[in-house]
Symmetry: C2
Subunit: 215 residues, 2 copies
DNA sequence: ACCTGAACACCGTTCAAGT
DNA sequence: ACCTGAACACCGTTCAAGT
């Protein structure tokens, strides 16, 4: 015997074999799977196949499917690209909300996870703290802070959920086929004119409008 | 033989037996199940059990699980208790959003359905049309209408999703155990003072604030 | 003709048997 | 000791056999 078989190298090729399973490797594969074929396709068995192992091997690194999803959510939140702290409340809030929004846009499937499981990741706390501080610095009292926080957060939330589809208006139209112009004239007119409006632009504008009313 | 066995009456008791299955009966049972034990417990097999029949019998009335869920969503939207049309834009918008919000609150599980499947129910169209008309009457041009519509809708959406839990702040705290006061002083202070704030009150206030900025 | 049981191809997870 | 295959109790749905 020339080498230990217990790790790292294939006895036949000598090439560094796919590293032995670890939580990170499992998560990596899970992200790849869900990104390419969606959340429902992320099953323990499929994931095991992707990693070239049996389903039970995964349970060495993850306590079950729920644990896997929680870890994916945690990692997603931790990966948020937060801007440096700004003392200007508007700049601070814009930066934070934009970062959250951008993260959700990169992995839209997370939002449905958040919607059904909640977003109680430890790494969201710094974001919350910074938002509250910005509101405080803007002169909000506690009631105002609570209200403003809820308003901003819920808007971001709703926008994110809606944005992993094509937007409410378009989708309503698509799902319905052609709208009855006689019955819904204003809606039909909107759908006709609004083509090409950028979602992103809409989000940025509305966020500023929200901040106008809050600050 | 004294009576037909094909329908309506039990041959043994003569009492009107549970009516033969129909889409309505299936939906009724599905709502009951999901209301009492949650969305994941709504399986074709469980539903069949609830109705005292075999799983396959359901497929006579519903083309599959997706179809069942879509019908439940449609019915939920159709059951919205819309207020009479008002010519005052603020009153009209307040009434509509409040109605949507109230419907979601009565069956919070629908929101996760909406989040993953979208809300493309035909019965949402009148609501959309009325919202757009109210914005038009308030003097919005098309771009403003699109923006204001998205803002209002996304806020309602996000609020609804969040509200079937205990609210973001509380939940974050609950999920985390005790917050590190040193690390997150503003958050800790908020959590301490905010106890007892009514969600409903917060929603109404924020909606008015939103309308202030939109109208 | 209408209805539905058995069967198929999945799923998450337990548990005991492998090395 | 560490790892994992077989088995269990589910799931939605097909399909052919019942009445």
């Amino acid at each position: 015997m020339t080498g230990q078989r217990t790790n790292a190298r294939s006895p036949t090729t000598g090439k560094p074999r796919a590293a032995r399973l670890s939580v990170d490797r499992v998560l990596e594969a899970a992200f790849a799977r869900v990104r390419s074929t969606g959340l429902p396709s992320l099953t323990m068995r499929q994931l095991a196949d992707d990693l070239g192992t049996g389903p039970m091997t995964l349970y060495r690194h993850v306590s079950g499917r729920d644990d896997l999803l929680r870890r994916m959510l945690d990692r997603t939140v931790a990966e948020m690209d937060l801007p440096p702290v700004s003392l200007d409340p508007r700049e601070e809030l814009t930066g934070l909300v934009t970062a959250v929004h951008a993260r959700f846009r990169r992995d839209p499937w997370v939002v449905t996870l958040v919607a059904s499981e909640g977003l109680s990741s430890p790494d969201i706390l710094p974001v919350v703290e910074r938002m509250l501080n910005a509101l405080k610095n803007a002169g909000c009292n506690h009631d105002e802070m609570a209200a403003a926080y809820a308003l901003i957060w819920h808007y971001t939330y709703g926008e994110a959920i809606d944005s992993h589809r094509d937007g409410e208006l378009d989708r309503v139209a698509a799902g319905m086929g052609d709208i009855d112009v006689g019955e819904y004239p204003t809606l039909a007119e909107m759908l006709c004119r609004r083509r090409g409006t950028q979602r992103r632009h809409l989000f940025e504008g509305n966020l500023q409008r929200l901040l106008d009313s809050v600050l």
